[in-house]
């Protein structure tokens, strides 16, 4: 189905504001200037036990001017949609660059901002891959579908409560720079999520199960059968929840793990995605998100994991949440290797970092979540590659004598250098002699990144591969959120430390 950029976005004075801002920046002596006008519409519909519990629909529109002036960055953002207003914001950006230069001079630093080269592309348009814009669907249809799904779950024995949430985003970006690249882009993404909770009032025990459907760079069709089988997932939840409530508590110790893509995507995000951001590795996030154990001096030599580990960065994959045509520095997006045969071979970077570290070109990872924020080095879709002709999940399980099959993401936490992590999940199945033997509860796995990836003995074939992801990856100051996908197959890890979370709480 042919898609077009939203006419109401195109009707904004995009070129006029850009021309006014860039001309003013040039006149004030900027060596480089870029203008970005963004409109992000983000809406949620929330139901509690099949009744509306809140909805909101927010459209955030604004523009930003970023300059390199006298070797320093300057950034300013505004909302006044007049030529004078845009020129004023450009002047503020130059003023901020001058303020930076003063501080840098006072510090005795000789650090200057320089950008890696990138061709000028002229005028380009890019639209993400979706069939039906969720904002073209009446709100009543959206809440109607969530109500019907919630009622299905509530009708089942043992389900005490159902929480439902649908989140939809339409993102429009217009970008123009003094080199001559002008891009107009549109992305759509959706995140439907249902959680069923069982409560045993007498004992005070309760537990829940959330749907496994990942957020996707798709439209309304994702809720009506394209890309996910909702009927099958909703039908399975009540029985799985009852089994989880009745499951024995895990015995802490060392287990082999078969990790489902619905869980492994988040481990990849935390232990590989953030760790291979070059700005982090160099210290630019040190005070906030942290640095990385994968320091730049280890590029090409660091053993990240076992030899079957191959990880790519990619901003081009269809339906990916971090997929786009051009980044926020006018760089055409790409795909590349991060880990090859278990060795660190690449990073994610923006134009400044690429130039600073001697790369010929940025790999297109500069991104801001709104016009109010400066573009920063942001995660691509970081994915673990399946083994061509590799096993399916049952075959991986068959190779385990005593272990746990981990499904769905739960709690996640990792240290500021991306070594020590702890993850939980939605469902844990005991594996005995190659077969599933019922669920377990109170399970968390804890490891350090290189130990964990070094223990990966087998990765599944393409038939097990799922493109999972997150809607809200946080980074930087001021804080920004971004959506990012991670594809992976099922995989087998030997000898992983399993905690009992009830015992961890001292009970």
């Amino acid at each position: 189905m042919p898609r077009t950029i939203d006419e109401s976005f195109l009707s904004l004075p995009l070129r006029q504001l850009a021309d006014a801002a860039l001309a003013r920046a040039r006149a004030l002596g900027a060596d480089h200037a870029d203008f970005r006008l963004e409109r992000v519409r983000s809406a949620t519909w929330v139901l509690r036990d099949a009744r509306p519990a809140g909805a909101e629909d927010t459209t955030d529109t604004g523009y930003a001017v970023r300059v390199v002036h006298g070797g320093s960055w300057g950034f300013a953002a505004g909302v006044d949609m007049t030529m004078d207003g845009a020129a004023r914001v450009a002047a503020q950006a130059v003023a901020m660059a001058k303020l930076s230069a003063k501080i840098i001079a006072a510090a005795g630093s000789d650090e200057r901002v320089e950008l890696a080269p990138e061709p000028a592309y002229g005028e380009r348009t890019w639209i993400s891959s979706y069939r039906t814009n969720p904002f073209d669907i009446p709100d009543g249809d959206k809440t109607g579908l969530l109500t019907e799904w919630s009622e299905r779950l509530l009708a089942a024995d043992g389900v005490s409560h159902v929480d439902a949430r649908l989140w939809a985003v339409q993102e429009n970006k217009f970008y123009a720079d003094t080199a001559g690249t002008v891009t107009t882009q549109q992305r759509v993404r959706v995140l439907p999520e249902l959680t069923a909770t069982a409560v045993d009032t007498e004992s005070g025990r309760f537990d829940s199960l959330r749907t496994l459907a990942p957020p996707a760079g798709r439209g309304w069709e994702y809720l009506t059968g394209t890309g996910w089988d909702w009927d099958a997932e909703l039908a399975a939840i009540p029985e799985l929840l009852a089994a989880k409530m009745a499951a024995p508590s895990v015995e802490a110790g060392t287990y082999d793990l078969v990790v489902d893509p619905s869980n492994l995507f988040l481990t990849i995000h935390e232990s590989i995605g953030h760790a291979t951001e070059l700005d982090r590795a160099l210290g630019y996030e040190a005070a906030f998100a942290g640095t990385s154990f994968a320091t730049f001096d280890q590029l090409g030599t660091l053993t990240y994991g076992s030899e079957i580990m191959n990880v790519t960065g990619d901003r081009t994959v269809e339906h990916g949440l971090a997929t786009i045509g051009w980044d926020d520095e006018g760089v055409r997006t790409q795909s590349w290797d991060l880990v090859k045969d278990g060795t660190l071979v690449g990073y994610q970077m923006d134009r400044r970092i690429a130039r600073r570290q001697g790369f010929e070109r940025s790999n297109g990872c500069a991104f801001a979540d709104s016009a109010a924020h400066v573009p920063l080095q942001r995660m691509a879709n970081v994915s673990l590659q399946p083994a061509p002709g590799g096993p399916d999940t049952e075959e991986l399980i068959a190779g385990v004598d005593r272990g746990i099959y981990v499904v769905g993401d739960g709690s996640w936490s990792i240290d500021m250098q991306r070594y020590n992590f702890q993850f939980t999940g939605q469902r844990f199945f005991r594996i005995e002699k190659g077969r599933l033997a019922g669920q377990l509860r109170d399970v968390a796995y804890q490891a350090t990144t290189t130990d964990f990836w070094g223990s990966m003995e087998a990765v599944g074939g393409p038939q097990t591969y799922v493109l999972g992801g997150s809607f809200m990856c946080g980074k930087a100051q001021p804080g920004q959120v971004a959506a990012v996908s991670h594809g992976c197959p099922s995989a087998l890890f030997r000898g992983v430390n399993i905690l009992n979370t009830t015992q961890e709480s001292g009970r």
Binding site: D57, T201, E202, A372, D415, T501
Partner: protein, 465 residues
């Protein structure tokens, strides 16, 4: 003759209310301005100033509500926004939390006054002092990383029931992280500020430099349970999260740590033997916040106890824990009725009081052997039944022996419950204004004491620095 309206926020509110054809309407106009500086390795990396406006229209049709927000709205663009909210309300089934809008709150005397703004001028004295601090750090062999931020939000709230309320909220903070040149040692401090007049970069740098010196002696300790001194910033990290998960309705339904086996909630139960009081109060000195409810959603991601129908509800002091006993859980008007608990709307600050007069330094001096934590990081919920959370220590865990810091210890991953920590704490110090490292961007107004916690569960060693 029609009167041409300006884009003044109070006029935006009035015009949107005039345009409304809904049964009831709430309009929230927020004007915000920000300024920030960010640095790494003794040099500025990014900076910025922003101006923004968000207008939220909440239309009520029958018992249904529609909530639509837009930024950068001018008075001429209000009608489509109002109609969109009305259409959203018409398409929505009845809202459970529907109640008549709040009435009878006296208008704010400054409702028609222009918004308060910040700009890069707020850093007029701070910025040059920061540059000098970079130079000194460079000369003394330390790298500085950090962030300074200032924001002002002026909120104008008008309703078809006659409310005209306004509040100006400043929020600022500085974070300063120092590292040794080999990046094997790291120290950190964060402070809140309203206007940067009370922030001295040189003093902050001296503080982190002292802590880097403490770290010149390294002691490796295994995972285990240790007596631990939690500074106010870490107590804020834990209690903010506890507060967000304390929703009365969820507890009443049996699905939080505050649910009572057999039904009902744990309100009335003693949580700690210490005479600690945890409260919110819009007038609390140093952490003042809006004295009325501002709710742009009935389904807030962080704080479930919100209702758009409660907009403008006056806020007073609410004691959540009083002398160690759980007294209230956050409610909306709707969930107060549903649970039978007293009405207790959320305010945007949190204070823990009732400890002794001692500072953290005095608590260190009174410690025979224990760990002194600088800050906690990446805190995430592991088990809602116990409110077990996990996270990591960061930028300095120090060993205290015989009342003195004797060296730096490796970092740890912890698994602990804030509720259990309150229950096990044996000493609380002097309450001071502080900023949560983990949640300070979302919940910035806290005042907490340091806590002494025996048997703090350091679950594993974290090799990160």
């Amino acid at each position: 003759m029609s009167v041409r309206r300006s884009n003044a926020p109070h006029e935006i509110v009035e015009r949107a209310l005039e345009l409304s054809r809904a049964d009831a309407t709430v309009v929230i106009a927020e004007e915000d301005s920000t300024a920030n500086l960010r640095w790494a390795a003794n040099a500025l990396t990014t900076n910025g100033v922003t101006r923004g406006r968000r207008v939220t229209v909440i239309a009520v049709v029958g018992a249904s509500s529609g909530v639509v927000s837009r930024t950068a709205v001018t008075v001429e663009e209000l009608e489509p926004l109002v109609r969109a909210a009305e259409e959203a309300a018409r398409q929505s089934p009845s809202a459970e939390d529907a109640r008549p809008l709040i009435e009878g709150v006296p208008a704010s005397p400054d409702f028609t006054a222009p918004p308060v703004e910040t700009s890069s001028d707020v850093f007029m004295d701070f910025a040059p002092a920061l540059g000098e601090t970079f130079a000194r750090a460079r000369a003394e062999g330390r790298e500085l990383f950090g962030f300074a931020s200032h924001a002002v939000v002026s909120t104008y709230l008008g309703t078809s029931s006659g409310l005209r309320l306004r509040y100006d909220q400043p929020a600022g903070s500085v974070e300063l992280n120092a590292k040794s040149p080999d990046r094997a040692r790291s120290s950190y401090v964060t402070v809140p500020t309203d206007d940067f007049r009370d922030v001295d970069p040189a003093a902050l740098d001296a503080d982190v430099a002292t802590r880097l010196r403490w770290a010149e002696r390294r002691i490796d300790l295994p995972a285990g349970r240790y007596q631990t001194l939690l500074p106010p910033t870490s107590v804020a990290d834990l209690l903010i999260y506890q507060h967000w998960t304390a929703d009365a309705r969820n507890a009443h339904e049996g699905r939080t740590v505050f649910s009572k086996p057999g039904g009902g909630t744990r309100v009335g139960e003693r949580l700690t033997a210490l005479p600690l009081t945890l409260y919110s109060d819009p007038a609390a000195a140093g952490v003042e916040t809006a004295p009325f409810t501002v709710a742009r959603s009935s389904a807030d991601f962080f704080a479930p106890a919100t209702s758009v129908f409660d907009n403008g509800q006056p806020l007073a002091r609410a004691d959540w824990i009083e002398d160690g006993v759980l007294r209230r859980l956050p409610t909306t008007r709707h969930t107060a009725e549903l649970t039978g608990l007293p009405g207790a709307p959320l305010a945007d600050n949190l204070v823990l009081e009732g400890g002794g007069p001692g500072s953290l330094a005095e608590m260190v001096a009174a410690t025979e052997r224990g760990l002194l934590i600088t800050s906690l990081w990446y805190i995430r919920e592991v088990d809602p039944k116990t409110l077990l959370v996990t996270g990591l220590t960061r930028d300095g865990v120090y060993l205290v022996e015989n009342g003195e810091v004797t060296g730096v210890v490796n970092n740890f991953r912890f698994n602990e419950s804030p509720v259990d920590i309150l229950g096990r704490a044996t000493e609380a110090g002097r309450t001071e204004r502080c900023r949560s490292r983990e949640w300070g961007d979302f919940f910035s107004r806290t005042a907490m004491p340091a806590l002494r916690v025996p048997e703090f569960n350091m679950s594993s060693v974290s090799p990160g620095v």
